[in-house]
Amino acid sequence: GESVGLHLPTLSVQEGDNSIINCAYSNSASDYFIWYKQESGKGPQFIIDIRSNMDKRQGQRVTVLLNKTVKHLSLQIAATQPGDSAVYFCAEIRPGGSYIPTFGRGTSLIVHP
């Protein structure tokens, strides 16, 4: 079946480096893609989303890139900080539904001071 998945389960970076977290999706009809951050013991927190008619969107220290040709989504975090350590999920919203995000498995980002 179609699903949202991630390339790497764990990513380790040094404080100050840029981080890139990748996500592959298979449902070409999805309208929106979202990145969530989940810290230990907490619920997921919205970071940024992007419409399917865009290829890039920037927020504060984060950039999401969407490549519809290869069905690939990435989250770039600039100047990664220890507080960025968390599990990051990409999610998709499929058309025809009630805007319910479908989550992938997640990537654990570990930032070393």
Partner: protein, 117 residues
Amino acid sequence: EAGVAQSPRYKIIEKRQSVAFWCNPISGHATLYWYQQILGQGPKLLIQFQNNGVVDDSQLPKDRFSAERLKGVDSTLKIQPAKLEDSAVYLCASRTRPDPGRTGELFFGEGSRLTVL
């Protein structure tokens, strides 16, 4: 602004026992979701409410799981009888209407961690 409140935070039960989780969404949020998150996986939707009506419960194992939101505010998720594979974090989330600028923004509670022995 107060966030989504959930209780209890932790619960340990034996298989075949029952358990109930409670959620109070952010004030004014008409839409409420229950997700199940198994360790190492992303959250999986169980049920969606719009006010006090069920919008989608297609992934709710109805033979053992039930949920209600009688007055359109707080909600209860019940499991009876519990199985070992129900061990997970149960997340409640809410939002107002979908905002075109932030369609994916759900507000999650901290979750209720269930361990079934």
